[in-house]
Symmetry: C2
Subunit: 324 residues, 2 copies
């Protein structure tokens, strides 16, 4: 069966302007429907020249991820060695989990141009518009027992932070446990999901959401002042494929280091990139709020908080607020 012609086919095939009338005739839809479809493509990153009585012409295509090119650019051996690139999906975490359940090996990477149900921490949503970010999930099969997975969360943050600094020059910092901030605004979120049988980790899925090429007016109102993008901070568009490739390389390097020498070198790197340490913090935990100075990481990856009473408390999870 021949696939039905789409608006995009017509415009990409044409070397010159195509009139709205012609498009409406060839697609058998109304002029209003054509106009709506044009707007959808605009949202997806296409730019058009529209001239009265002449019609529409594509001026620039969005910077989309290309499977073949990305595979060539990823130099790491294991991480990203299997790629699944999707257009629109509900959540790359769910895709990666399904692949992991089917036996996908360590290093399998799922990336989507857009997520309609992107997941953040604690059941929150993650804003993932089409073609503007890096929304990806990496399958891991760590040998370390479940007990140590918090260390992998921190390791992932270090890998992404190093890659962001290297590729874009934006000096992002790590907020415990694994947010990337620039001047207090969030530029990247990380979510590590684990499935375990007793202490044996069946798999972890490292979800990484990087707001790469979002413009200020892409953000919904409730995120203004909270989120920012690498493009906004760097003042120019980011090469997403270069950043993905570098995240994979940094991750692989750190994962090897961790496997060989344990958590200490990763913890030192995390501390060096942190914006949390040495600050007064207030943390909402399941057992109530904790306030004090963030002193460092302990051997297991917990944040050591020193209260005013001089007590040292290891904090494993919670929402951190940095105080002045």
């Amino acid at each position: 069966m021949k696939k039905a012609e789409t608006l995009l086919d017509i415009l990409l095939d044409a070397e010159e302007f195509v009139s709205g009338e012609e498009i409406s005739r060839r697609l058998s839809v109304s002029r209003t429907a054509v106009w709506k479809q044009i707007n959808k493509l605009r949202e997806a990153g296409y730019e058009f020249e529209a001239v009265p009585h002449k019609g529409y012409r594509i001026v620039s295509k969005p910077d989309l991820l290309d499977q073949q090119e990305l595979a060539q650019r990823i130099q790491s051996k294991v991480m990203g060695s299997r790629l699944k690139i999707l257009g629109t999906t509900v959540s790359t975490q769910e895709e990666a989990k399904a692949l992991a359940e089917e036996g996908a090996p360590e290093g399998t990477l799922v990336i989507a141009e857009e997520q309609t149900g992107g997941k953040g921490r604690m059941g929150r949503k993650w804003f993932s518009p089409y073609g503007k970010g890096i929304w990806m999930s990496l399958v891991l099969r760590p040998e370390q027992p479940l007990h140590y997975t918090p260390q992998l969360t921190l390791l992932t943050g270090v890998a992404v932070c190093r890659a962001v600094r290297k590729v874009t020059g934006v000096m992002a910092g790590l907020k415990w446990p694994n947010d990337l901030l620039v001047d207090g605004r969030k530029i990247c979120g990380i979510l590590l999901e684990s499935a375990a049988e007793d202490e044996h980790v069946r798999y972890c899925i490292a979800g990484i959401g990087i707001s790469a090429n979002l413009d200020r007016d892409d953000y919904p109102e409730e995120l203004t002042g909270i989120g920012t993008s690498l493009k906004i901070e760097a003042g120019e568009p980011i090469d997403r494929m270069a950043l993905i490739a570098t995240v994979m390389e940094e991750f692989e390097m750190l994962y090897e280091l961790y496997r060989k020498d344990g958590f200490q070198p990763v913890a030192s790197l995390w501390e060096a990139l942190s914006v949390t340490l040495g600050k007064r913090v207030s943390i909402q935990t399941a057992r109530g709020p904790i306030e004090g100075m963030a002193d460092g990481l302990d051997a297991s990856g917990a944040l050591r908080v020193r209260t005013d009473a001089g007590e040292q408390i290891p904090v494993f999870s919670g929402d951190v607020e940095l105080r002045r």
Copy 2:
């Protein structure tokens, strides 16, 4: 649509003997097929009187789990407050996981008369014949961060061990981390599966398999000498519903204690019921074998092993072999 009549319907409805000929006519199957179906029911725990020229008569029905009766006998408030009893299923773990993903609350309990793909530790199978055991999975939603789930594994072992001793008088002991043994033979296996987002545990499924009423000839050859049952050890059949109810009550009591006072009281109970401590052990871990004396549990739930060189090593996971 009227449900087709089954062999069981015919035999249960009849007050007297029903001839093989009559059964074969009413079910429209051969006499050989009737005989095969009778044998299937025998395997499921039904007992028959078979008299030449008269036919078959049910003498006793298997001791099956009854939803209403079990619900009445379970006195705990949360644990087991929602029951799903299945005849044959692939795995109660998979059933419970699906329910947990759909939002089933803490304390939801799935029990099956038979599992065709029962899961043991490390991808092993768990032998779960029809009507003979307690094959069940309990949904937990712990508040403690992921870091502490090994403690829940130990807590589950303590709950089951206490319930077994109380209901059956069989003095089972705990082998680290959570097998129940009687004279070195396995009587119960526990598997705790966890799903987490970073440090937040979305749910745990505590899988509990108790070989309650298996007879010696129920065991396949490869389990002879390794597995035993409560019926074999106690010398009489076990009231499965009483045991399930008591496991739920013990679990709830310990879970409350743990929530209020932390791991220490649970660890003390575990140590008191242990057959591992004070023994020489050899443990296969992901990082290689460890040999030494099993000294106790540390604060996180790891087994403290003292090597001959005097080193204290915390072991989080592995297969333990008890040495003489």
